[in-house]
């Protein structure tokens, strides 16, 4: 740890640990989880750091129990978090649907690994569709944040708590094995809450007020229809939370769209290509839901080529296609269950630059 003269404090930590530091800074004192690679640093950190500050760490018998611990603690009005990886997140889908239906906030961290099935422990972005389209029953939405650095593992975790409380809805951090295991310095900026701390809907015993309940069952005529429209309006309001990073987008003829680790690697390749004079930039979605559709469309309008890069066989690709009518400009570079190297991306940029040059008759 260094203390530069500017007074900026830096921490050197793994991404998984930065999630924990961010959660604790945001006032989370309840963590429940179940062991699964590659996220075990999170429960291990929380089991060591929560009890001394009066928090609660509890290891569940399954991810099914875990998400229901979250449901109970969230219904009590407390900030609560869990983390897992693909197979465990699958087991939580039932509970996530109930929490969305019951309008309960919580933060769920997916340090995703390869799939389907037991898959492997290699990093992957194969859980994009499950996270963004929501894998539980009944149809619902949740904010999905995709950090691409340890700094963002810290800061987006804090944001996830605020978004969850603001909308009374689960929120997800979608990381992967590389972002989780990678160690780099980050600045632990202080947490500044953007939401009120009071939760009048919480179940704390009905002293001095009529009893209240937290539920998702609506059997009276038209009740569930009205509930669905209410939730839908909330999901529309969430669209105002869209966040993305434009990277070297000035005059970019080749626009990369990538998130998380893919975006991090792309930055290196873009730097190399820019040094060669290639007009390449990147639009990096930070929120996967809401998806920065308008920004993607505007970039596609101006660009010659849109290159979607993912550590899967094409999942966010569907959202990029839905965002713009320029389908003919869209290309895809996929590497399921492995990190694309900067060299591979650089090579693809060069190839596309050549393609553009042939098409436009220009020289580069």
């Amino acid at each position: 740890m260094t203390h530069p003269p500017t007074g900026i404090r830096r921490e050197l930590m793994k991404g998984n640990e930065a999630v924990c530091v961010g959660a604790i800074a945001a006032g989370c004192r309840f963590y429940y989880g179940y062991p699964i690679t590659p996220q075990n640093d999170i429960p291990e950190y929380m089991s060591a750091h929560l009890p001394p500050i009066g928090g609660m760490f509890l290891q569940a018998e399954s991810e099914i129990a875990t998400i229901n611990f979250l449901l109970g603690t969230s219904a009590s009005g407390k900030r609560v978090m869990t983390s897992s990886s693909g197979p465990g997140i699958s087991l939580m889908q039932e509970g996530l649907s109930y929490m969305a239906g019951s309008e309960l906030p919580a933060v769920i961290v997916n340090i995703s690994r390869s799939g389907p099935g037991l898959g492997g422990i290699a990093p992957s972005q194969g859980d994009y569709l499950q996270a963004v389209k929501c894998g539980g029953h009944g149809g619902y939405r949740m904010p999905v944040l995709a950090p691409h650095s340890v700094q963002e593992m810290y800061s987006l975790t804090m944001l996830a708590f605020d978004l969850a409380d603001k909308y009374r809805n689960p929120a997800m951090i979608l990381g992967d094995a590389i972002i989780g295991q990678m160690k780099e310095p980050f600045v632990p900026e202080p947490y500044l809450s953007t939401v009120p701390a009071e939760k009048p809907w919480a179940l704390t015993g009905c002293a001095g007020r009529p009893r209240q309940y937290v539920k998702s069952l609506y059997l009276a005529e038209n009740e569930i229809e009205a509930h669905n429209w209410k939730l839908h309006r909330k999901y529309r309001r969430m669209e105002g939370e869209v966040r993305f990073e434009p990277y070297h987008m000035d005059g970019a003829r080749i626009v990369i769209v990538a998130f998380g680790t893919s975006a991090r690697v792309s930055k290196t390749a873009i730097q190399w290509a820019r040094q060669e004079g290639s007009p390449v930039g990147m639009l990096r979605p930070i929120t996967l839901f809401p998806f920065p559709s308008r920004a993607v469309d505007e970039a596609a309008e101006r660009a010659d080529v849109v290159l979607v890069i993912e550590m899967n066989t094409g999942q966010m690709l569907e959202d990029v296609r839905m965002s713009t009518r320029h389908h003919d400009k869209i290309r895809f570079l996929g590497k399921p269950c492995a990190m694309p190297t900067p060299e591979e991306i650089h090579q693809e940029i060069r190839r596309l630059a050549g393609e553009i040059a042939v098409k436009t008759g220009g020289v580069r």
């Binding site: 429940y32 449901l71 609560v80 179940l203």
Partner: protein, 259 residues
């Protein structure tokens, strides 16, 4: 009514428990949920817990707990009530937390949750209503269905070679170290109802004294899905059901382990 009785009788001997909401229930004639609800409400009143309680409703006929018991209630996914109760109790250890679950909920889909909550010695109270069938979905076979019992999904009668044996949850939960109290009661006679209330008071007391998980299994009826008249259903509880599911206290902790 209250005003009239005051003038007519020298003292009040019977009234609706404060914690029981004054509405008609949706339960079928002859169903014991109403009795169990009343015992629950009386016990909440007895310990003055109404304003300090969070109930956890399960999936099944008992889901409408929040319409009948005048306390804060959170609804759990099917079988997950002990896990949800764990989340509530860990966040609010000074509140009284109970679950109210049927046999499909607790003894089938939720077996893992109740076993592990008990094993952790979670300070919650579980009311387990066993009527040997899935009532709300139309009388399908449950793990508690008796051998030979005909249900919507065992039309030829439950057969052990295909479906195994009825599960005895009160005994099973009693084997776990974290369990403070486990008992099976019935509510088919006035004497049984009194005993059931005593059992529930003990179960509440365990949570209040932080002794661990307490469970009371109620042998109940489902005349509608059993295809029986309510009185015949009582006879079934007193007869073959009580023979296979013996009433009694299977575990009663005298002292907390941490003392």
């Amino acid at each position: 009514m209250k005003g009239e009785t005051k003038g007519t009788f020298p003292r009040l001997v019977f009234k609706r428990p404060e914690s029981l909401v004054d509405v008609r229930t949706h339960f079928c004639p002859g169903c014991h949920h109403g009795i169990a609800h009343r015992i629950l409400a009386e016990t909440i009143d007895h310990f003055h817990l109404r304003e300090n309680t969070i109930g956890v409703a399960c999936v099944g006929c008992s889901v409408f707990l929040y319409d009948y018991i005048d306390v804060d209630v959170v609804e759990a996914p099917h079988g997950r009530a002990p896990a949800v109760a764990t989340g509530v109790k860990r966040a609010q250890p000074d509140r009284f937390v109970f679950t109210y679950q049927g046999d499909g909920d607790l003894a089938a889909i939720g077996t893992s949750e109740v076993i592990h909550a008990a094993n952790r010695g979670e300070n919650i109270t579980v009311l387990f209503v066993n009527n040997t069938t899935y009532g709300m979905t139309g009388g399908q076979m449950a793990p508690t269905t008796m051998l030979g019992q005909k249900t919507a999904t065992s039309p030829y009668g439950r057969e052990f070679r295909n479906d195994g044996y009825p599960i005895r949850m009160a005994e099973l939960v009693a084997t776990l170290e974290g369990t403070a109290y486990s008992a099976r009661v019935a509510t088919s006679t006035p004497a049984q109802i009194r005993q059931a209330k005593e059992a529930l008071k003990k179960a509440f007391g365990m949570q209040i004294r932080e002794m661990g998980l307490s469970l009371v299994e109620f042998l109940s009826t489902c005349p509608t899905n059993w295809g029986m008249k309510p009185l015949d259903a009582q006879k079934r509880v007193l007869g073959e059901m009580s023979e296979y599911f013996p009433l009694g206290v299977y575990k009663e902790r005298k002292q907390a382990d941490f003392v």
